[in-house]
């Protein structure tokens, strides 16, 4: 069976673009800009109806909001109640959503349900396709979590991120989230309560591994073909966990020592739980976060992390100093799987061969924040 033609959804610091492929994934048509000048942190197509697009938007001077389209981005409607923290009681300092960072469609049995992760840390849920959003108090207001989350000054330079909101495809009540920093967490009751899932994860040398707030997952992915397996790219290595185990294994130790296992994105194969991809970065000294030695490459494991292979055919061989952010690498559902990498230099690189060779399919875009794939309903 021929997989439907994919669309790559590209979110950038200055707008969004849709890159439509033909069924061979050899020809691409760039559609955009959408929201020119707006900061778009995530653009996601709902896989349940293959029609609804949600975009997490703000500008440098306007507050954050969510836009929704059901006509391939021709028209957009703004959420009437975007993610926002509750108004604080008098005398208390209230939290303010700076931007929505992450969007996740809900379980197939809950049409219209979506989750949003924000900066600073907050988890929000919509039950009407993204028109109105409510905080998830089981996480946002739990006193332990408030401590682990820290404040707006903690976390990454662009603010702490609640990311990697994962819904178990077998159970809508089973959720995972990542907090950068603040650990990986699990809920088995639909978000009414969460608990940490950080055992086995390392933290920066000299800090207490038992303190959840020091844990910094960069990107966590669940394997669709084996939802008990998750992979994680962390500030301190690449990990895998096979539930019901409670302990992450640092599978990145099998990476070449000259490259290391630091990076941001993590991508899993849609059908093979033993296959996953990462895009390593230079995490030495001041953390340049460029490709190590200016030589970009993805790495793949075909055996659940026991070994890794370099995939750099087609990428520049030297002096390529761009960065791939945590949301800016994605796979499609094709056979073989297509991979997509968006760079801080505004280039989109694609592979039709599961990473064996790469070509640049769009360039001169603004800094790319996120890349997702989807296939629109005809």
């Amino acid at each position: 069976m021929v997989a439907p033609a994919p669309t790559v959804l590209v979110a950038t610091r200055k707008g969004a673009w849709l890159l439509h492929a033909d069924t061979t994934r050899r020809k691409w048509r760039l559609d955009g800009p959408h929201f020119l000048g707006h900061v778009i942190h995530h653009l996601v197509l709902d896989p349940r109806d293959r029609r609804t697009l949600l975009a997490a938007a703000k500008t440098g001077h306007l507050g954050p909001t969510i836009f929704r389209s059901t006509d391939r981005g021709r028209t957009w409607t703004e959420a009437s109640r975007p993610p926002a923290f509750p108004k604080a009681r008098r005398g208390e300092k209230g939290r303010v959503v700076d931007h929505t960072f992450w969007l996740t469609p809900g379980h197939p049995s809950e049409p219209g349900a979506w989750y949003a992760g924000t900066s600073p840390h907050g988890l929000f849920r919509s039950d009407d396709g993204g028109a109105t959003w409510e905080p998830v108090p089981g996480l946002n207001d739990d006193p332990r979590y408030r401590e682990w989350m820290g404040g707006a000054q903690d976390g990454t330079p662009d603010g702490p991120k609640l990311h990697s909101v994962i819904v178990d495809p077998r159970d809508p009540a089973h959720l995972y989230v990542g907090m950068s920093s603040g650990g990986v967490h699990e809920s088995v009751d639909g978000g009414r309560s969460f608990r940490p899932l950080v055992r086995g994860m390392e933290v920066v040398e000299g800090f207490d591994v038992a303190d959840v707030s020091f844990h910094d997952p960069h990107c966590v992915r669940i394997c669709p073909a084996r939802p008990d397996r998750l992979y994680q790219q962390n500030h301190c290595g690449i990990y895998r966990i096979d539930r019901p185990s409670e302990e992450w294994q640092r599978v990145g130790k099998a990476m070449p020592s000259s490259v290391g296992d630091i990076g941001f994105p993590m991508v899993v194969h849609p059908r093979d739980p033993d296959t996953a991809w990462v895009f390593p970065m230079d995490g030495t000294t001041v953390w340049p976060r460029t490709s190590p030695a200016g030589r970009p490459a993805a790495y793949v494991t075909r055996n659940a992390g026991r070994s890794w292979r370099r995939l750099d055919s087609g990428f520049p061989r030297r002096h390529a100093w761009w960065t791939v952010k945590r949301q800016a690498m994605a796979a499609d559902g094709g056979k073989p799987v297509g991979l997509y990498v968006g760079t801080t230099g505004g280039e989109l690189w694609a592979s039709r061969s599961e990473g064996r060779s790469w070509s640049c399919v769009a360039r001169h875009l603004p800094e790319i924040y996120a890349v997702e794939t989807g296939a629109f309903a005809r």
């Binding site: 507050g63 909001t65 604080a88 303010v96």
Partner: protein, 85 residues
């Protein structure tokens, strides 16, 4: 009362100058939001604080308090402090 709208917010109003009613700046912004849904949250956060890169003026004088009372004949100007590349 006349309200001057900066260009980043004209997708809501469709015009550079619009009308809104209220006896305080906060009431004018609430009325603006009723007439142009979504506009207020882009410039005032969920804690009712003015967002960092937005400035409010009444007859050319900067105002920092949403409770500022407005007299008949006064007008409101909203300005975006554009910065960055």
């Amino acid at each position: 009362m006349k309200v001057l709208i900066p260009s980043p917010l004209r997708s809501y109003t469709g015009a550079a100058e619009v009308e809104a009613e209220g006896s305080t700046l906060g009431e004018v912004l609430a009325d603006l939001d009723r007439r142009h849904p979504g506009l207020r949250f882009r410039i005032v956060d969920e804690q009712d604080r003015m967002r960092p890169h937005v400035r409010f003026f009444v007859d050319g004088v900067q105002v920092f308090d949403l409770g500022r009372r407005l007299a008949a004949g006064e007008s409101v100007q909203i300005v975006q402090a554009l910065s960055g590349g």
